[in-house]
């Protein structure tokens, strides 16, 4: 709602006329009618919080002002649940068609993650049952949560700062153990605590400098330079700790990693060359030509990645081939994205299901390769292989290569690995910026530059730190971060 004449690029301090005011008032009146249908932060939201697929237990999380009402609506049996305080209750969930054994975790606001009333329904982990339970909650007045909405509410409720919100996100999307470890460190506020310590020291320093600036040399507020310098050193030390922490946490410093894998002679190397636009990998019609992993840099519109070609799957390999298999496995484990190359002409459902199972849980893009040899869309059963995308490609004709590139771009710049790196880069950049400003401040102080210039350096250092904790992060960054949260987390 930007109905002020300022939107025309005029400065904030520009002129405004009463007519403009009147016009903006009428525009606001129009808008207030429209917005009555969408007071979204007020909704009570619900979503399945456990990963998709069967598990022993499934959890549905509900948060919002109507959570209490919803619990009562689905609670089966004569006794009313006691919801006056935080509680773990056993009962049955009535989904309208039958009842399910229920373990209810009740967390009334504000002592909850979102500061709202929160209910966690622990139910049998069968997907269909969980779906039906969610449907029941929706019909009773809940709204399906948007991706990341729970965490967003927690962030807005001041429960977590941005680094911890990012930690939740990174943990959800962690594709390997090192990423998960890094995410956990964030989640538990490791960086937050260190940034806050550095910030507190900086604010101390600024307080001294500002006090010194706003009182005359002869006045009681004047602070000697040595005292200011000492506090600046404390701030620098705290900042260094935050940087060290972030450096240790960093799962990878380089580019996103994309790994090509697949059965021998599926055409991985040909695809590798196609994607890189060169002739590097030794290509031959004989299976098993690629033994060592080959690497190249893949430039996409929104992301840059290392592309690694690996030896074809060979469960029975021995000797140097066995070593090549181990390298390939390790590459896949560290990958942000695995491109699984499947020979369309020879594809069989059972064999591919086995290959897919061996790829663990990493994010997989299926290339329906040599599509020129088998025209038509990939068969329906390929959709059951649990891949993020399925794309028909021919390295021979080049058909589908552009679509593959844009899919890679999308997954890498928008996906889990890309975000982990984006987060890391955001932190390191901001911390480095803060350190540069702080060092400048110290140098300026020692060089005898005007104290007001030192003050300016310190203000900028604080701004940089605030960017890490999300205090001054522009809203579009927040939007991008929160939009990537897994549903229900």
């Amino acid at each position: 709602m930007r109905c002020s004449p300022r939107r025309s690029g005029e400065k904030v301090a520009g002129y405004r006329t009463r007519y403009d005011h009147a016009r903006s008032r009428s525009a606001q009146a129009v808008n207030s009618v429209n917005s009555s249908t969408a007071s979204r932060p007020n909704d009570t939201i619900a979503a399945i919080a456990t990963p998709p697929g069967g598990g022993l237990r499934g959890v549905i999380r509900v948060s919002g002002p109507r959570a209490r009402e919803l619990v009562r609506a689905v609670w089966h049996g004569g006794t009313r649940p006691e919801l006056s305080r935080r509680a773990l209750l056993e009962g049955r969930f009535d989904d309208g068609r039958g009842t399910l054994p229920l373990l209810l975790l009740w967390m009334p606001g504000p002592r909850s993650f979102t500061r709202e009333d929160v209910a966690e329904f622990h139910l049998p982990g069968h997907p269909a049952l969980l779906q039906s339970a969610v449907a029941r909650l929706l019909s009773a007045g809940a709204r399906l949560a948007e991706p990341g909405e729970f965490t967003r509410r927690a962030f807005h409720a001041g429960r977590i700062d941005l680094t911890r919100a990012e930690g939740v996100l990174a943990l959800v999307f962690a594709t390997n153990e090192s990423q998960a470890r890094a995410a956990r460190a964030l989640l538990f506020g490791g960086l937050e605590a260190r940034v806050q310590a550095a910030r507190a020291a900086l604010v101390d320093a600024r307080t001294l400098v500002e006090a010194s600036l706003d009182f005359d040399e002869n006045d009681t507020g004047h602070v000697p330079q040595g005292e200011i310098e000492a506090v600046l050193h404390t701030a620098a030390a705290a900042l260094e700790q935050a940087q060290e922490f972030e450096a240790q946490r960093a799962p990878e410093r380089g580019l996103a990693r994309v790994v090509l894998c697949g059965a021998p002679n599926a055409g991985k190397s040909a695809l590798f060359n196609r994607l890189l636009g060169r002739d590097e990998a030794l290509v031959s019609a004989h299976a098993g030509t690629t033994r060592d992993a080959l690497e190249g840099t893949l430039e996409l519109a929104g992301a840059t990645a290392t592309l690694r070609d690996t030896a074809g799957f060979d469960a029975g390999a021995a000797g140097p081939d066995r070593a090549a298999q181990r390298i390939a496995e390790r590459s896949r484990a560290d990958a942000d994205l695995v491109v699984w190359v499947v020979d369309a002409a020879r594809a069989q459902q059972a064999a591919l299901a086995d290959e897919r199972a061996a790829l663990d849980s990493a994010q997989v893009l299926l290339v329906w390769h040599k599509a020129d040899l088998r025209p038509g869309p990939p068969p329906d059963w390929t959709r059951e292989l649990g891949c993020a995308r399925i794309l028909p490609v021919s390295s021979l004709t080049g058909a589908g290569v552009d679509a593959l590139r844009s899919a890679l771009d999308e997954l890498l710049s928008g996906g889990q690995g890309g975000l982990g790196r984006e987060t890391f880069l955001r932190h390191t950049r901001a911390l480095a910026q803060a350190q540069t400003e702080l060092e400048t401040a110290l140098l300026s102080l020692r060089a005898g530059l005007a104290l007001e210039l030192v003050a300016e350096d310190l203000r900028r250092a604080t701004d940089a730190l605030d960017e890490v904790s999300g205090a001054t992060a522009p809203e579009d960054v927040l939007d991008r971060i929160f939009a990537r949260f897994c549903l229900g987390k």
Binding site: R7, S35, D214, E452, D466, P474
Partner: protein
Amino acid sequence: MESPSHHHPHPRGVRTDFDVLVVGGGHAGIEAVLAAARVGARAALASLRLDRIGEMSCNPAIGGLGKGQIVREIDALGGAMGRIADATGIQFKVLNTGKGHAVRGPRCQSDRHLYRDAVTAYVADTANVTLIEGAAVGLVIEDGAVVGVRFEDGRSVRAASVVITTGTFLRAVMHTGEATTAGGRVGEATSEGISADLVRLGLKLGRLKTGTPPRLARDSIDFSGLEPQAGDAQPKPFSAWTDRARFPLLPQIECHITWTNARTHEFIRANIHHSPMYSGRIQGVGPRYCPSVEDKVMRFADKERHQVFLEPESLSTDVVYVNGVSTSLPADVQEAMVHTIQGLERARFLRHGYAVEYDFVEPNQLSDTLAVKRAPGLYLAGQINGTSGYEEAGGQGLLAGANAALWALGHSAFVLGRHEAYIGVMVDDLVVSNPTEPYRMFTSRAEHRLLLRSDNAEQRLVRRAHAIGLVQKDALALLESVEASKQRALAVLASLRENGKRLDELMLRPNESWATLAARHAPLRELALPESITEALETDIKYSGYVERQEENVARTLRQQSIEIPADLDYRSLTGLANEAKDKLARLRPRTLGHAARISGVRPPDVALLAVHVERRRREGQHSSGPGDPTKSAS
């Protein structure tokens, strides 16, 4: 008083005696009526006593840290404070010279009587200004709009807009020990009716206090053992219009420094129960930055002594202002306390110190033109808005007076941004939050401090002032000639080299200045530039990197912070907002996200949530509104 018979037709169709009527002849009222007249309005100033216009109720000094910059801004906007201070100053001193160009605070002590006389003459000589003597007892309110002022003698004066600048006179109570008197300044009446009318308009009032120290007779002070303090050897005037050749006009005086001591402190502690602050008789909150001597002793118990400045108030009287011992202790206790101080052992009291408690209007009820949001035609400026200081009052008065006139004449409003002027910082601070102590300017309030220097006030403001008639062509010409001189000097600097390095590059070194370079290079000396220009030029060059970065910063925050919050936003319906933030936002109703972010108690996550909500509403508005709506098409 003018006869109100000759009603003029008004642009809004109302018949009025004046376009703008200013109530109160203090520093805010003076700048207000002068600004209104400059903008082209028929302006009038009403004061209890026309011989008390421009009275310096407290310290007879103008400027200082953070305040000197405001005086320079008032001058660049065509106001009177700078030139009157220059004409009546008896000591000029730039404070804080060692800490950088932006935090330098030019200050002068004026002869309080000459200041008052000069202001009175200046206002009387201004075309378009009518003076009215009389006690204003209330507002004329019609259909919720303020259309005039009622006076004690029963007469009413009608005006298109009214500016109230009554300072500490609203329901004022003076305390000297256990004795209390009604009144805002010794010997003057208080103004109850206007307070009542403001409440009737639905305005929320708060209560503050301020204090003033005793005045002593000069011939009773023993200066022999005291450290004298002179002004600057080369005094600098505030105003661009002051004739440098004949400056300073008046003989310059010395002040003296003395100190409180253990005996003083002991005495205060023993008598603290007599202090109205400590006995609870004063409820208003006093300023932390200018504490009473009682406060200094009680709060900073580890300090062995506090500085006291003895400042002569006038060339023609022997009144000495005792800067540093503001007090509201009983008269006899004050005397005994002051007599413990070196040099003041036999000091004779001409007037005792006292504390004043007064009403102020919570300024978040004002817009950034200082107009009262809920009462069209009413403007407030000065201490009534919870500020302290002549400079703060003058700056607000100028802005309120100009806007009252622009409004009355049907023109666009004049708003100063935080990046343009300390006046802009002050008004913005006032309208987004409520002062919990009298608001005084500090340079640290200005995040763009390096841009808001006293040396570049004209560059920042003259063109904007000229656009609405606050200053005339001569001011523009003066600015252009200064800018041309700077350009010429810059060209000369860039054309000369020393060991292969250009002089403008050399100037970046901490140990170089215009003076050091001019000493070595004749072409610089030949330019024969006044120090005011060379100093500004030097700052421009030395600070260029920082200034550029601040300018980038300004551009970025302007984009982000100028996003408007719908006026009808129901904060209580937003979950996720912390309760404190919810309360404050609902009460203060910030106009933009920038305002919201600066309210204390509103934390970044709250602002982020607000931003999401505002953006969402904007998008929904776009989707559902017709294409013909002009307010959305450009969003």
